[in-house]
């Protein structure tokens, strides 16, 4: 754990960058910002994409497959939007439909069966809010993902690389570690949606982003993320460096998890699950009396 702690300390002590929360929202959404497929191309080899939920369809907005990461086979999951209109239409702007979540859940079960660690990249404005998605149980599909993931008997590392949008992001982020790039954001609702509801005007998104505390630094302060990964230059201006830094941190955490927990030993897996439970059980702000 020593390397993890050292890096975190350094990150915390970095000179403050003068970016507003809304600036970071814009950086997180930049169409040129590296997405899941860029991370897969750079950090993994032997990637075999696995499609379909075996029930209704395939979803280009939430992709997954088997790949080699530092000499080890893993399952990769991640949201994927497009960098142009054609891609965005094909990938529904990175907003998964129920099929995407059901595919993710299917692949999680696959990883558990073959004892493969999971690495998940979070980058979505949220789950698709469409008629068809409601018809096919969007809420249920997300909930089933959560239930599967929280009790999954393999180590899971999740990284917020862009926009973490509400339930659609949460659905693949219940891991043993939650890492987050400095210019990524993670929010319960988009600043625009929050502004539309509470300000009655979505043009107050900046104000909403400010008070919603959506930045990695805020979430680190709250203890909701495990590590902030420094991003001294915005990811789309330094894609290889950013992806490389993320890869290093994933590798360090994966090594720690695999050193601590033996996936083939049921008792050790129980300890992993207890730790995961305690991690989520502890999140909340309340007082008693």
């Amino acid at each position: 754990m020593s390397t993890v702690d050292t890096i975190s300390e350094e990150t915390v002590n970095m000179p403050p960058v003068n970016l507003s929360p809304m600036d970071r929202v814009r950086l997180a959404r930049d169409p040129q910002r590296p997405g899941t497929l860029d991370y897969i191309a750079e950090l993994f080899s032997n990637f075999v994409e696995l499609h379909g939920d075996r029930t209704f369809g395939d979803d280009g907005a939430l992709i997954g497959g088997l790949a080699t990461f530092r000499n080890r086979s893993v399952l990769v999951l991640g949201h994927q939007g497009g960098s142009n209109t054609r891609e965005n239409l094909a990938r529904n702007f990175g907003m998964p439909r129920p099929e995407g979540f059901r595919k993710a859940r299917r692949l999680m079960c696959h990883a558990e069966k073959f004892r493969l660690p999971i690495i998940a990249f979070i980058d979505t404005s949220g789950a698709d809010p469409g008629i068809g998605s409601e018809e096919r149980g969007q809420g249920t599909a997300i909930a089933e993902c959560l239930l599967q993931m929280v009790g999954l008997r393999v180590p899971i590392i999740c990284v917020v690389i862009g926009e973490g949008g509400s339930g659609g992001a949460l659905a693949i982020s219940l891991g043993d570690r939650l890492l987050m790039l400095e210019n990524a954001v993670y929010a319960v609702a988009s600043p625009e949606a929050c502004a539309a509801i509470l300000w009655k005007d979505s043009s107050f998104a900046s104000e909403a982003a400010e008070t919603m505390r959506v930045t990695a630094a805020d979430l680190q302060r709250f203890g909701i993320i495990d590590e902030l990964i420094a991003e001294p230059v915005p990811a789309h201006e330094a894609p290889r460096e950013t992806i490389g830094a993320v890869g290093q941190r994933i590798a360090a955490h994966l090594e720690t998890l695999l050193d601590t927990f033996d996936i083939s030993d049921p008792e050790s897996v129980e300890a992993l699950l207890r730790e995961r439970y305690d991690k989520f059980r502890a999140i909340g702000a309340w007082h008693e009396g």
């Binding site: 969007q138 909930a143 319960v188």
Partner: protein, 327 residues
Amino acid sequence: MRTFFQRHSKFRPRSSDEATGDSAIPEDMWVKCPKCGELIYSKELDHNDRVCPKCGHHFRLNARERIALLADEGSFVEWDAGIQPEDPLEFVDPKGAYAEKLASTQEKTGETESLISGLGRIEDRPVVIAVAEFAFMGASMGSVWGEKLARAIERAAHDGLPVLTVNASGGARMHEGLFSLMQMAKTVAAFDRLGRARLPHFSVLIDPCYGGVTASYATVADVILAEPGALIGFAGQRVIEQVTKQKLPPDFQTAEFLLDHGMIDLIVERALLRSTLATLIDHHAPAPVSFRPEDNGYDAAGAVELVDAGSGSAGDTSPEHVRHTAS
């Protein structure tokens, strides 16, 4: 027909004249059904469990009324009423600070938060109950909801009890930011443990149930029931209309629509909810029902032993019991 508002007079909804102290002719003697337009004498509506006698429209109940409807009279013991919300984000919107909003909502509703949890009995069967209060900030799920529910589930798991959740929600509590979103993880994690102990979770979806509650524990229960006509969905209808620019189907997101699409087990009329839940509890009880000499009892030796710690009488609020799993 049970007339729970008579039996539980303290949960009778206050009429507006009581609320304002105005002694003029009460305006709410007659209630207009929003569905069929029928004018209903309000006492008749109460006697009918607040279901329109003409068209069957289910009026909303608040959480206390719901508990009075479902739990045996006097059996409900509330847990963790002292857990208070905080304002970790120091959230401010044009209407002011979240902290002030909380104080005024608590004053207005008489509740500390949007979820009420505790132990009760349904036709004599002990069950852990958690009910959402829509009047409290639209039953939005925040940290207190998550903590109360997680504790209730942990106690149920410890004591071998089933869990009943009655779920309405406008979504996550935006004022608590990502803390709210993470309550989805926390509650699902606790229910995962309950499930591993082979204890059942029954979820009743009531009007309206949206957002993070629909996308978490409420839709991964062992049995999912809904009240007729309840609106249930992930995204709100206005959002869907704005995003898709499409006209929504007439019965979109109703309980009937969900049943049709295979998303829920059963729609149950309010008058039958209690007996249906009692039957379901029996079907999931540790001892086989068919081996019991008495039809309705819940005193099979094994079951009693399992539930003993949590099945004390209504007055059992011993601190040991209340705290034994609190961390």
